[in-house]
């Protein structure tokens, strides 16, 4: 597919080559990169803007991205607030530098990686995905990131690894609802079956719209599983565990009859209290109808085979 990265990069935001080279030398000195590994210029230190993004192998459905301001100011981040407008401001207090991610459990090589070291081994891509919230709204987001499978392979999963558990950071000093233990059992936990996690559509995102992820959108590292409801796409990940058994995920624990482990987008399976048949696409104007929700959020061709013998009503 052809990825458009037409966004102009202000020259002030481009890292001067000598600084970039210095960083490169520094990282090599630390022996953090594989011999001959190319450090993608796509994630150049403090640079706010990604460039040279690889072309994604994901399906081209010629989606038109939702205006970025709408995406930045409409986020569910229950660690901060229950209000989708307020998280923009509140999340700014979060500390995301330095950031490391622990990969453990049923793997040959459990390790804790600095985010930069993970990124130095990944080729970043831009992928334009639909994002459908369980609340009945949706948007189209050009994410910047890489396949989760690439990271999992670094840790070499054992054959006993059947599920993957993700955990959000615990930072009660900046997250009011974590501090006050409001509503959900924090830290937030999500999970995937191993085949879902290894699926090429499943990605870890570090950016959107050609820029680093804003904090309220899950910086510095979040999951994106485009055929599942948004709450599966966990934010600010610090731990990835490979497990023999399915993890108890946060919303599933909070209301098991309402939020299942799978949470695949499915217009035929209603939430107990509301229909999932249609969605409001953010950015669509007054007097335009909601859009018909698609099975697997329109990614059925790629993912339906993962669930072919399953009763989707039962495994919702």
């Amino acid at each position: 597919m052809i990825i458009k990265t037409e966004k102009d990069i202000p020259s002030s935001e481009i890292t001067p080559p000598e600084i970039f080279q210095e960083r490169r030398k520094f990282i090599q000195m630390l022996g953090l990169t594989l011999a001959g590994a190319n450090i993608p210029s796509a994630f150049a230190g403090d640079n706010k803007v990604f460039s040279n993004l690889a072309k994604s192998a994901t399906p081209d459905n010629s989606l038109k991205p939702t205006p970025v301001e709408l995406v930045k100011n409409y986020t569910n981040y229950y660690e901060f607030t229950f209000n989708k407008d307020d998280s923009t401001k509140l999340a700014q207090s979060m500390v995301i530098d330095p950031w490391s991610v622990e990969i453990s459990g049923e793997v040959e090589k459990p390790a804790t990686y600095h985010l930069e070291d993970i990124l130095s081994q990944q080729t970043l891509e831009e992928r334009i995905y639909r994002f459908r919230c369980v609340e009945g709204w949706s948007m189209v987001v050009p994410w910047v990131g890489f396949s989760l499978a690439n990271l999992l392979k670094m840790a070499k999963p054992l054959s006993t690894a059947q599920f993957v558990k993700f955990t959000t950071i615990e930072q009660p000093e900046t997250m009011p609802n974590q501090r006050e233990k409001k509503m959900l059992d924090f830290p937030y936990v999500e999970g995937l079956r191993i085949d879902e996690a290894m699926h090429p559509l499943t990605m870890l995102a570090v950016g959107m719209y050609g820029e680093k992820l804003p904090k309220q959108n899950g910086a510095p590292l979040r999951l994106v599983v485009p055929w599942k409801y948004g709450f599966k796409s966990i934010k600010a990940i610090v731990k990835i565990e490979l497990l023999k058994k399915p993890p108890l995920t946060t919303w599933n624990k909070s209301a098991p009859q309402e939020y299942g482990f799978y949470a695949n987008v499915n217009p035929a399976v209603s939430h107990p209290r509301w229909s999932q048949n249609s969605e409001r696409l953010l950015g669509s104007g007054f007097f335009t109808s909601r859009r018909q929700t698609e099975l697997f959020n329109g990614y059925g061709e790629q993912v339906a085979s993962l669930y072919k013998d399953m009763d989707l009503r039962h495994f919702f």
Binding site: E69, L70, V71, N73, Y74, Y78, F82, N83, K84, D85, V134, E135, W137, M183, S270, P272, R273, W274, S275, Q276, N277, S278, R280, L282, F286, F287, T288, S289, R290, Q292
Partner: protein
């Protein structure tokens, strides 16, 4: 005195229309965030419920103060609840669905929280169209019976509100508390009136 009451009436009318005006300004100035349709929809629903609560406080105030000059205001606030509920419903049908009936019907069938909204609206609609003095006379004794359903409408509205939420239940809880207080006041006065009746004291409090 008469002039004051006349002015008060006009002032009240204007104040009751202010939420609509402010909402209109927010639409014009794009002040409603990333999901403006939902924001408009919720704002109208909120005001409908607020006017319903205000209308329901009139009778207790009359009972307590023994001032009888307020039924017109009860009717006015009730009609504004009906007005905002109608806009709320119209926004759902037209602004959010553009009369896409297949989506609308599916949505209503599959969303239990909407059933309560529809139920509440049917009641408020019936009360709205029978609020005139003419209808009152025509319906006679049945008028009071019919208009007692306002409490069911209020309860259904609160269920409609909190049943659609994933998280924060603080606001619907506030309405639930207000409505239960108002309802328990009615039950209390009804109960005391009954006790008085049992004691064969002819001086009933027929000002319910």
């Amino acid at each position: 005195m008469n002039a004051l009451i006349k002015n008060l009436w006009t002032v009240t009318l204007v104040v009751c229309l202010l939420p609509l005006l402010l909402l209109g300004l927010d639409v014009v100035f794009d002040n409603l965030g990333s999901n403006p349709i939902q924001a408009v929809h919720i704002r109208l629903g909120d005001w409908s419920l607020r006017f319903l609560c205000i209308a329901l406080t009139i009778t207790p105030i009359q009972t307590i103060t023994r001032w009888r000059g307020m039924p017109e205001y009860r009717q006015l606030f009730g009609l504004f609840a009906f007005f905002y509920a109608s806009l709320h419903f119209l926004v759902y049908l037209l602004v959010d669905h553009n009369f896409n009936w297949s989506l609308i019907i599916m949505d209503i069938i599959e969303s239990p929280y909407i059933w309560f909204g529809v139920f509440a609206y049917i009641i408020v609609f019936l009360l709205g169209i029978t609020s005139s003095k003419f209808a009152m006379k025509k319906l006679g004794k049945n008028w009071k019976k019919l208009h007692r359903w306002v409490y069911l409408a209020a309860i259904a509205s609160v269920i409609h509100y909190f049943w659609q939420l994933k998280g924060n239940l603080a606001e619907p809880l506030l309405y639930a508390i207000i409505i239960s207080l108002l309802l328990s006041f009615r039950i209390f006065t009804w109960f005391t009136a009954r006790q008085l009746g049992k004691m064969m004291i002819p001086k009933g409090r027929g000002d319910e």
